[in-house]
């Protein structure tokens, strides 16, 4: 079974290459569907396959850039990417990230930063999960009230509408974001991207997990546009990250390319699935992914207090992460296949009708 293993030229380790493809498919699906890089899922996976940690991060970022490019291309064709918003936010994200990264270095000198950061991350994830499910419950309530009153709810209506309050702030310059359908002060996306970038810098994460809900709940993007625009940002920041990590010699491009084979398939499945799953379907699945991420962090934190059980809890954390990747990927794939089948069948039926009427 030697042919199933490939020697990585830089890391010098033999890796089970079908594992890389499967991992690529899984994170490709989830990344394309939620609009995030998904490093919290890839890094433990690469580690399990035998990558040294230093290479796992760099390789993950390199593959993330390619995968996000594929997803952005597809979302762009669907009209899900607001490039103007993406470019404005990119500036705020980069500045915010640098400030966050510098701040964490300063905090490190004070000591005990790791625990604080993990707790902060947990609080943030808990808040995001609450926000998502509170929004879902509120929207359901609105729908029931409308049904009772004999009205129909607008198909773009949402539960939480914080963005409407933020849109009332009219500090010039005002901008019109056509794809997202938003007219607001330019300062809103700049400040939001600065804050999300700052948080990502402090937490040492890519930021898709924070930016996606911020785009929806604060800026007011429709879910599909939030996913596409976030991926556009992940693509550029991923390339930037890949450059810095590769320059430091921590990227295994061969592995990234093998992962991209799977990710190109996965990214297409995830992206096309957004065509068949409505915005709230994406939001609920995203909420579940956030809970999974939080559980994995809790499991990683337990050994800080019970070091004797480190192996068990580290393993459990990886199982949770990979289990969520597998379950969500399966759900998204099934929905995509069902939707595609219906679409193809409808197309065939309408073609048969047309030819029938011509005859």
């Amino acid at each position: 079974m030697d042919w199933l293993y490939i020697l990585m030229p830089i890391a010098g380790v033999k890796i089970f290459w079908p594992g890389l493809i499967i991992l690529g498919i899984g994170v490709g699906i989830i990344g394309g569907f939620f609009g995030m890089g998904g490093a919290w899922m890839v890094t433990p996976g690469l580690n399990i396959l035998g990558f040294p940690m230093a290479f796992a991060i760099g390789t993950d970022i390199a593959h993330m850039a390619g995968k996000s490019l594929i997803s952005t291309m597809r979302h762009g064709k669907f009209g899900n990417v607001d490039y103007k918003l993406g470019m404005i936010m990119l500036i705020g994200t980069v500045v915010g990230f640098e400030v966050g990264a510098q701040m964490i270095m300063w905090l490190e000198r004070l000591g005990a930063v790791e625990k604080t950061v993990r707790f902060l991350y947990l609080i943030l994830l808990a808040f995001i999960a609450w926000m998502v499910f509170h929004d879902v419950a509120k929207r359901r309530q609105k729908q029931q009230e409308a049904l009772k009153a004999g009205r129909e709810v607008d198909k773009l209506a949402t539960g939480i509408e914080w963005h409407k309050t933020f849109h009332k702030i009219k500090i010039p310059p005002m901008i019109h974001l056509k794809v997202a359908g938003i007219y607001c002060s330019a300062w809103l996306p700049i400040i939001v991207s600065f804050l999300t970038g700052w948080l990502a810098g402090i937490l040492g994460i890519g930021g898709g997990l924070i930016r996606m809900p911020a785009l929806i709940y604060i800026i007011g993007c429709p879910t599909h546009v939030a996913v596409g625009t976030d991926l556009f940002e992940v693509m550029i920041s991923g390339l930037y990250g890949a450059a810095t990590y590769t320059y430091k010699g921590r990227t295994e491009l061969v592995a990234a390319i093998i992962m991209l084979v799977g990710a190109s398939i996965g990214a297409q499945i995830g992206t096309v699935a957004t065509k068949y799953i409505k915005g709230y379907g994406i939001r609920i699945a995203f909420g579940i992914a956030v809970i999974g991420c939080a559980v994995s962090i809790v499991l990683k934190m337990v050994p800080m207090y019970y070091p004797a059980y480190r192996t068990f809890f580290d393993g459990a954390s990886t199982v949770v992460v990979l289990g969520i990747v597998a379950a969500l990927s399966f759900y998204i794939t099934v929905k995509m296949v069902e939707g595609a089948k219906q679409e193809v069948a409808a197309k065939k039926a309408s073609m048969a009708k047309q030819t029938g009427s011509q005859v």
Binding site: L7, P9, I10, A11, G12, A39, T43, M53, A54, A56, I57, D60, I61, A62, M64, L69, R74, K77, F78, E98, A101, I104, M105, Q143, V153, K155, G201, G204, I205, G206, G207, P222, V225, S237, L239, Y240, G241, A242, A243, T244, T246, Y247, K248, G249, L253, V254, A256, I257, L260, V261, S264, A267, Q268, V272, T274, K275, K278, G279, A340, E343
Partner: protein, 99 residues
Amino acid sequence: MTKLWARIAGIAAMIFLSLPDGVFAAGGGDVAPIVIVADTRNLSGIMWWWAELYNESHLYFALVTVALIPIIGVIFGVLADIIMTHIGIDLKSRDLAEH
């Protein structure tokens, strides 16, 4: 004038590449401060060339990597497009709805 532009480009590249490690490095933490040299003894062909490039210059290695990633991404993306279109999925429109 060309020299001046070359210098400006060089300085810009240096600034770009020497920014903090953590930049957009999702979920990983710090990178260990170790120097890694690729072992080329068991490699041949393109793998050997790739590992040699890594050993010779991390800058060229980084530039080639960053150039290759988008190219490979576009190739795979276009390939997947062709397959999806062949299946009969409409890849140009979608219905924007929250529920």
